[in-house]
Structure formats: C-alpha cells, structure tokens
C-alpha cells in the first residue's frame, strides 16, 4: 500500500482539494436537472462569471471594495496601534480614554450606518468610516494586550543600550509585539470584510456588497453567489498572505 497519501505534506494538499471536489459535486447534483433561479448550479455561476468578466463591472466592484478595505482598515490599524501604545505608555491617557474605547467597541459598527449616511452621504466615505470604526477599537485593545504580554526584558535591553525613544519603539517594541499584532490584524480584516459588505449594501454605489444587493433586486441569484465566492476567495487570499508573513522564521519566535 502506498503510504505517500498519509504524509503530512500530502494531506495538506489532498484533503482541501478533495473536500472542494465533494462540495462542488454535491452542489452540482442538487442543482442540475430542473432550472431554478433560486438554486443556480455551478454552471450558471460560471456563465455569470464569464459575462461579468467581459462587462468589467465585477472588477470595478472588486476594486472599489478592496480600496475601501485598504484605506479604512489601514488607517484603523495604524490608529489602533497608536492608541494602544499611548495607553501603554501613559497611565493618564489610559485612565481617561480606555472607558471610551471599551464603550465604543461594544457599539455594533452596523448601528453607525444611519449616522455615516447623514454625515458622509452615499459612496466611498461612509463605507470607509464604517470599516474604520469596526476595526480601530478592537485593534487598540489587541495592541494594548500585546504590549502587556511582551517579554519584559526587551524594553530593559533597549534601556541598557541607551536607545532613543524612537529607536526603542521601532527597533524593539514594535518588532516584539509584531507576531501578536499580525494575529490581531488577521481577525480585524475578517471583521472589516463583514462590515464592509453590509455597509455597501446600504450606503454604497459600487462594491461587492452593493453588487450582491443589486443582483438580489434583479433576482440574479447566480450573481449573488458569484459575488459571495469572490468575497470569500479575496478574504482567504489576504489571510493566506498574512499567515505567510507570520510563518517567516523571523516572526515565528512566539509560537516556537
């Protein structure tokens, strides 16, 4: 009996492919036979992909969502790290502002939608704002937790080597918390995608969420599924990218 299949590296490739094939076959089996627009088959979704590809709308929607995620989540991650550092280094700031952050992170980002539309209208800005508020507060708490769990000898080393404040931050503190921040960023990006799709459905004029909403209005369930698949694949690719960075020997020290 060939034992290659049981090698861990083979399992890593074969098992996901196998489960994908089984899922696709099950989908095929359940949806082919009779034509039903509420239950499109993989072929229907494939056809929708070809037609949308040619019309270029799909990529315009994809790019609109990607740019909003990058701007909204990017600024929120930077602001969250900054706030986390501020809370860690200043007891006064922590005592004054931490209750606000704790309060605001329990306010669902979706509940900001009416205010976002009133303040910013319809389009890019309200969606970027909603992504920002969904990420910035949890990112602050995650950064603070990472700083509090940092090996305490490392700031001491910076002190012993008489590093300036900026060098301590850039050469010691940020690299020391980077593995934890990467994990937090992976979680935050997942949250940002969820909020973005909901926000685009209500406050967007373009984007993957708006595309789903528009396709549903036109009873194009094949398009809804196509957009859902695109969201899933894009999110998966971003997560794989971050996992790749996490897996580099330089950043693996925290997980052994």
């Amino acid at each position: 009996m060939d034992t290659n299949f049981f090698r861990p590296s083979m399992k890593l490739v074969v098992l996901p492919v196998l489960s994908f094939l089984i899922f696709s076959l099950a989908w095929w089996g359940l949806t082919t036979g009779e034509s039903n627009s509420a239950w499109p088959s993989p072929t229907d979704v494939g056809r929708a992909l070809l037609s949308e590809w040619q019309s270029e709308r799909l990529w315009a929607d994809w790019w609109a969502s990607m740019s909003r995620i990058m701007i909204g989540a990017g600024f929120a991650i930077i602001a969250g790290i900054g706030l986390g550092l501020l809370f860690w280094s200043s007891l006064i700031c922590r005592l004054a502002l931490r209750p606000w952050v704790d309060f605001l992170r329990f306010v669902s980002p979706i509940s900001w939608i009416p205010l976002a539309i009133m303040w910013f209208g319809i389009g890019d800005l309200p969606v970027i704002f909603l992504i920002f508020v969904s990420v910035v507060f949890p990112m602050t708490i995650s950064t603070l937790a990472a700083l509090e769990n940092m090996p305490q000898l490392l700031p001491r080393v910076a002190q012993d080597f008489r590093l300036s404040r900026s060098s301590t931050l850039l050469e010691v503190i940020l690299p020391a918390v980077w593995p934890d921040l990467l994990t937090a960023i992976r979680v935050m990006l997942g949250m940002a995608w969820v909020v973005m799709v909901a926000a685009e459905m209500i406050a967007g004029k373009q984007g993957l969420g708006f595309g789903i909403h528009d396709a549903r209005n036109g009873m194009r369930i094949d398009l809804v599924i196509l957009y859902m698949l695109l969201i899933g694949v894009t999110g998966w690719c971003m997560d794989r990218g971050l996992r790749w960075v996490q897996g580099r020997p330089r950043w693996r020290w925290k997980n052994g």
Binding site: L153, R156, R162, R250
Partner: protein, 256 residues
C-alpha cells in the same frame, strides 16, 4: 570622589521598595569599591537583595540615598537570555555595533572586533540562526559577545547560567570567564552557586539579609577560571561554604 582605579563604586547606598522594609538601610548603608578588571561574586540566600543591588549598580533602580559611580559602559546579562528573538545571531551582533555604548570607532576596527569575538566564542557556524534555534548555552555566549561588542567594560551578571543544565553550565562558565579575564572585563556576578563563585571570582561577598549587608568577604587566589580539582579551589570553596551557611542561619533566625 571616585577611586581612579575603581570600575564601580557604591557610596553610602540605601534603598527600600515602596511600602516595604528597607533592603539597604540608611544606618547600614552599602559601601563598595570594585577595581577595574576584578570579578566580584555576590552570594547569599534568596531575597537577600543581590539582584536589587545589581539593578542599583546598573541604574535601573534609583537609591534613596548615596550614589553609584561607574567608570565606563555597563551592561547587564540576565538569567533569561535577552537576545532580540526576531534577529539572528549576526543581526543581534550588528545591533550591538549600531547601538555601541562607546563612541563609534572606524568600520574596520569594529569589524575586526566583531570577528575576534565571533572566533573567541566560536559562533561562526551559528550566525544565521535565530535565538530560538540555539541551545541555552549558546544563547548566553551570544549575549556576552553582544555586550562586549557594544563596548561594555563592566558586566553585571544576574545568575546568567542558572537556566542551563549542570554540564553545559560548567562548560559555558569556563569558556565565558576565560574570555572575560583575558579582556580584563570588570564583572559583578550574582549567583546562588558557591562552586561557581569559587571557580571564577577574585573576591566573593557573602550577603546577609534584613537589611542587606556584607557578612563576609573572601578573597580567592589563583588563575581564573580555577580548576575545580585543585587544592586551592577546594580550600576556597570550604571557606565560602562556611560563611554562606552562617548567612543562611542568620536568615532563619531573623524570620522566626
């Protein structure tokens, strides 16, 4: 006024942690002079204040009264290694060169100092490895090399070998102190291990608690590191043992 031959001087030092009994009392303040190139060991029971004394010498703690005078750059070698875990051995050494404690010497001089240390500590095969890929003994060797490369003239070592297994400890201690003695580096070594003190110290201070003060001072003869089988070593070890046991008796009496 500091003694011109002194590397480190403590003058009328007293210290107490907040809301705790004085560790170094004002009426029994600590005075100590450590000449350049001396290897001084501080021994005594747990919680006697050895590490606190070391942190006062390093400037991590501020004394309530008295002063600490250091003749040159000082670095601490901790019990747990304090290498930057996201940098490999080469980069950790580079860090010491970038943030050297002494004025920058020309590039070639620094490079030859680095090469000499790499050779002395036999680090060449490990330069591309990250700290988590090294054994405990190797990590301590890299850390001492990093401190010397940064230009430290005084090393404050806080039980640096206690995390190593017994056999590795003997070997790493032997190699490290051979190099430190050759370079005439001033060392203050905090240790629980009387064998260690007897093997590598020029002078041993046996400390007693409540408040922390010197119970006995033992000067040891012979070349460092001493052979553990020699008669001289045996005699020094016996003497040290007697004072150390007395110090433990004092502690037991004071806690009754």
């Amino acid at each position: 006024m500091a003694n011109s031959m002194a590397a480190l001087e403590l003058r009328d030092l007293s210290f107490a942690y907040p809301r705790r009994e004085a560790l170094l009392a004002a009426n029994a303040s600590m005075n100590l002079t450590i000449p350049c190139g001396e290897i001084l060991a501080l021994v005594g029971p747990s919680a006697v204040g050895k590490s606190t004394l070391l942190h006062l010498m390093a400037g991590h703690l501020r004394p309530q009264a008295g002063q600490v005078w250091r003749s040159g750059p000082t670095l601490v070698i901790y019990q747990k290694d304090a290498l930057l875990p996201w940098l490999n051995v080469e980069e950790n050494l580079q860090f010491a060169m970038t943030y050297a404690l002494t004025p920058h010497s020309p590039g070639e001089v620094r490079q030859s100092a680095r090469n000499a240390l790499v050779e002395s500590f036999q680090l060449s095969p490990y330069m591309s490895l990250f700290p988590r890929e090294l054994s405990g003994g190797l990590r301590q060797r890299v850390e001492v090399a990093r401190a010397l490369l940064a230009g430290a003239e005084i090393l404050l070592m806080d039980e640096p070998f206690s995390a190593l297994d017994a056999l590795t400890r003997v070997r790493v201690r032997q190699e490290t102190f051979q190099i430190l003695r050759r370079r005439r580096t001033t060392v203050v070594l905090v240790t629980h291990d009387l064998l260690e003190a007897a093997q590598v110290a020029d002078r041993v201070l046996v400390l007693e608690p409540n408040p922390c003060r010197v119970r006995a001072e033992v000067r040891l003869e012979g070349e460092i590191p001493r052979s553990m089988t020699g008669m001289e070593f045996q005699r020094s070890f016996q003497e040290l043992n007697r004072f150390a046991l007395d110090s433990v008796d004092v502690r037991l009496e004071s806690t009754r």
